[in-house]
């Protein structure tokens, strides 16, 4: 296997809040290969969106990020500002959850595409305009040339998300980070946007990291999956391996909480109990208080990530009890 495009090593994010430090992400490792689609799943507050924003260093000053984020072997967390700027929106692009708030309300869509091209290419004005029209066409926006002069509030929700994807694609990135790109949209539009993303990954040979709380979306779209809980990585592996035979009690419970067989469009039904407070580091396994497989060791010692098969690893003391194919599993 070639060196991965993106390698995240021991990523930690601590937020300073008036009520003390919050450990949003803790000891996270994962990799993304070229052209690969990785899904990061977890409940709200599991740290998946924070992880995504930590990669291009978009978190604000109240966040302290530790660990390494290696982009083609180079640590993005240590990159000088100007090199980082060129990487952002250039090689590593990002799509946000809410297109309405992520697009600047007072600038025309055309300008919001154009400024990426100005920042990352040497095209002249006419070429940039042609490229902008081409991009809107690529993401399926009709009469693109006329749309350039319009403002975000003149677009529908789905069209805004398409426009945001067009902006992200402008500089032909090698990796697209998508933070719940379909959550704010209607169900039918969600599907269109996912299909669009998959088509673009295929056509452009781009890698995609898709953050979502929707297991169905992961099953449909991803090559590999990383399951997060309370800022930590529970399990990672190919979608087939993880969904077919989960090796972490949380993944197991998550899959079992989904109703029916292969009902890919259902949202997660929460597992009994509450996710833990993350305002102090949890000693053992963060999931232990809600876990039906919990053992004494789970409360005191932190489980290490263990390989079960090629590219399938989990951090669970009860992993040996698990791993059997779920009846009627999603994948």
């Amino acid at each position: 296997m070639n060196a991965p495009l993106l390698e995240v090593r021991d990523l930690g994010v601590v937020f300073a809040t008036p009520r003390g430090a919050v450990h949003a992400v803790d000891g996270l490792d994962f990799t993304v290969g070229a052209g690969e689609v990785l899904g990061i799943v977890g409940e709200s507050g599991s740290g998946k969106s924070v992880t995504l924003r930590a990669i291009p260093r978009l978190l604000h000053a109240n966040a302290t990020v530790s660990g390494q984020v290696l982009w083609r072997g180079e640590d993005m967390l240590a990159l000088p500002a100007e090199r980082l700027r060129r990487l952002r929106g250039g090689q590593v692009a990002m799509v946000f959850q809410e297109p309405m708030s992520a697009l600047n309300p007072v600038l025309p869509i055309g300008q919001q595409i154009d400024e990426v091209l100005v920042a990352h290419t040497s095209l002249d004005g006419r070429a940039r305009r042609a490229r902008a029209v081409e991009l809107l066409g690529l993401v399926g926006i009709a009469s693109a040339a006329a749309r350039l002069a319009q403002y975000p509030h003149e677009f529908s929700g789905g069209m805004r998300q398409r426009a945001m994807i067009a902006i992200a694609l402008a500089a032909e990135p090698a990796l697209l980070l998508a933070d719940e790109p379909t959550t704010a949209l209607d169900v039918t539009i969600q599907d269109q946007i996912l299909q669009l993303l998959l088509r673009l990954v295929d056509e452009l040979g781009m890698a995609l990291v898709l953050v979502t709380h929707d297991l169905g979306v992961v099953a449909e779209t991803c090559d590999r999956v990383a399951v997060m809980y309370a800022g930590r990585l529970c399990e990672t592996g190919t979608v087939g391996a993880v969904f077919g035979g989960p090796r972490h009690a949380y993944t197991d419970a998550l899959l079992r909480s989904m109703p029916g067989t292969g009902t890919a469009r259902e949202r997660l039904v929460p597992i009994p109990g509450q996710p833990p407070r993350i305002d102090r580091p949890v000693a053992g396994c963060a999931f232990a208080p809600r876990c039906t497989h919990a053992r004494p060791v789970c409360g005191t010692e932190r489980p290490r990530l263990t390989d079960w098969a090629e590219g399938h690893a989990s951090a669970c003391f009860a992993a040996d009890e698990l791993g059997a194919p779920l009846v009627g599993a999603v994948a």
Partner: protein
């Protein structure tokens, strides 16, 4: 509704506003306690003189008729004669208004030129020492009465250092600017404080907006993010505020002109009070209110220009 309709409706709005201003000024003059005629003529006026004045002012007619005739003469631009100067009030005001407008314009320029960069520095260093220093200085500025600031500047820069004249207006355009510099600076201080405070709050709010994070995620240069994405959005709220502050600015001009002996409408107003020149006071109240409503109109139009969402 499209934007030109919105603009047209906004322009038409000034008609009822002007009408209401006229009614308000009339009510103000007629319904307040106190006998205007005897205070105009003095205690020892004869009955005949009082009757003549009463008739001349139309005070012997019904309130409704008086109001209509008042509004009519205002619409025709007849605001009566000054009792002290014996010239038409409008001529008196027309001669002095450019002075006040120049003073207010200079003050606005100075205030914005100081407040905008300061607001940026304060917001970008929020709760660290540059921010605390800037906010403290402007807080003191906000608590300093205009006349006192004027006297201090006058004492130091005109009295002791003699860099600027003690007052007046001069004769040429250059002299006007030179004479009005200290008064404009005086007037600008509290104005700048208000603008700085509001703009700082807007910038802090905009800095947490998703579109600013997205702009950073796009790999734009810091300068571009700051000016294209942050400043423009923060200015929208500030433009409205500046429009609403024009009233206080003109109020401040009244005091500043008195301190620096600037021959504008503010000084005319104060002088007219002591001269009991009621037609002038009434007309000035009217003219200043009309000016403020025009300023509000301008700020709405500027806001429309800055914010494509307005009027759609």
């Amino acid at each position: 509704m499209n934007r030109s309709t919105w603009l047209l409706l906004r322009l038409l709005q000034v008609i009822p506003t002007f009408l209401l201003i006229g009614v308000a000024v009339f009510v103000l003059a007629r319904l307040l306690p106190g006998d205007i005629v005897s205070s105009m003529l003095g205690e020892r006026a004869s009955d005949a003189a009082i009757n003549r004045m009463t008739h001349q002012l139309g005070l012997d007619r019904s309130i409704g008729a008086q109001m209509l005739s008042f509004l009519e003469s205002v619409a025709r631009g007849r605001l009566g004669d000054s009792l002290a100067f014996h010239v038409p009030v409008l001529k008196l005001i027309g001669d002095r208004l450019p002075v006040t407008l120049l003073l207010s314009g200079m003050a606005t320029l100075i205030a914005v030129a100081v407040a905008v960069p300061m607001a940026f520095v304060a917001a970008l260093t929020a709760n660290r020492w540059p921010d605390l220093l800037i906010r403290s200085v402007f807080q003191v500025g906000l608590s300093s009465p205009v006349f006192y600031v004027g006297l201090v500047l006058l004492t130091v820069f005109a009295g002791w250092l003699r860099w600027f004249p003690v007052g007046g207006y001069g004769d040429t355009a250059g002299e006007h600017l030179y004479h009005l510099f200290l008064p404009a600076l005086t007037l600008a201080l509290s104005f700048a404080a208000v603008v700085m405070r509001s703009l700082r709050a807007s910038i802090l709010q905009v800095l947490t907006a998703e579109y600013v994070d997205f702009a950073r995620a796009k790999g734009l240069r810091g300068r571009v993010v700051l000016f294209r994405h942050v400043l423009r959005n923060a200015l929208i709220a500030t433009v409205t505020l500046v429009g609403l502050q024009i009233g206080s600015l003109l109020g401040g001009a009244v005091i500043t002109e008195s301190v620096f002996a600037v021959p504008g409408v503010g000084r005319l107003m104060v002088d007219s009070i002591f001269a009991r020149d009621y037609p002038v006071i009434q007309a000035l109240t009217l003219v200043l209110a009309v000016l403020v409503s025009l300023a509000l109109l301008v700020s709405d139009v500027v806001q429309m220009w800055l914010d494509p969402r307005v009027g759609r």
